[in-house]
Subunit: 158 residues, 3 copies
Amino acid sequence: MSIETKLQKMGLVLPEPIKVPAGVKLPFRFVRVHGNRAFISGHGPQNPDGSIAGPFGKVGSDISIEQGYEAAKRTALSILGSLKRELGSLDDITWLRVFGMVNASPDFTSQPQVINGFSDLILELYGPEHGAHARSAVGMAGLPFAMPVEIEAEIQIG
Amino acid sequence: MSIETKLQKMGLVLPEPIKVPAGVKLPFRFVRVHGNRAFISGHGPQNPDGSIAGPFGKVGSDISIEQGYEAAKRTALSILGSLKRELGSLDDITWLRVFGMVNASPDFTSQPQVINGFSDLILELYGPEHGAHARSAVGMAGLPFAMPVEIEAEIQIG
Amino acid sequence: MSIETKLQKMGLVLPEPIKVPAGVKLPFRFVRVHGNRAFISGHGPQNPDGSIAGPFGKVGSDISIEQGYEAAKRTALSILGSLKRELGSLDDITWLRVFGMVNASPDFTSQPQVINGFSDLILELYGPEHGAHARSAVGMAGLPFAMPVEIEAEIQIG
């Protein structure tokens, strides 16, 4: 079963290309492919129409761990949307590195529980072999657009 | 002389696999090997029994630079423990990239002096050729379990 | 036209090797080459003489977005200086990954506008094919020497 079929069966939708807020220029590639390597830029949660999805703010003060988990899951969908547009297919991917950044208050220590929203979905979709990844989950002083989560990654194509 | 023999002569012990605090799920690989590349997840300081090692908190306010240096050295041992379990041997490794994260108060600016605890040990063990690495040493708003240091890395096998 | 000629025409100068403040040891490689891969350590803005360039502090409270943009542009020059010394030529480079760290107050959300100072220069110099890069632009609790910006990167040689 293809990854896209799995997503459909799970009722999950890949968002449209990001709608960048007015006045902001993002002069980089969301996915940078070179040979069979692909570097994935920092992505955040998006609504299906491509707009940046709330809730906004810091996990641990403004929003809950559960909301952060959902934001990380949405960030996975955002990345899969970029990969679909760049690669054409989501099927020939081996996950390697995931860097999970949580917009967090200084006393917040549950970053892993937040970024699990990303890892759980990727592992459910890709399985324990192709979906396995090294990971860090850490607290940032701030993130663009007050997003609660931003994730960058590296994958191998094929 | 093997890396493990060097560690023994230095009186250093590799910790047991991490004992994750109750209720926390870490669904990723501590070392993700793909071909001759290995991505090392964010590790922190451990006690020899695998538990997360204190002191906890922010370098610059809760704990000193010297304690942070020791935490970074312990983090190197934690990573070497994961590499030993994953690769079987510590000997055929070329270090490439080290990303050193310090749980730090906003006015703390001595991150390099903290992460030197990692770099100094790796260079002593692996020498200036195989042990050489690119590095960043930066201040985080927070880290999981209130660890003072977390380090991720990439190596080449062989 | 070579990258160095382009820099000259733009009136831009690559800084001398970094003059590290007294008492600080930086035991890593500013560029770690392995095969045709090169990992670039976290760099910050430098003056032409190699000293770390001000203004210092946090973007969003101590210094402006425009000053942050200039610091990111200077950081690009700092990295190009390191690459020139390590590789001999700046011409056979393909950019892959850029990790842009902004020393920022907790309420700052314009990290992309700051790191654009780096991306805009790299794209102007290298063009949309070799200069294209994946990127994250995120807020840090603190950076060494109170630098406002630190950037690490990965490139392919050739």
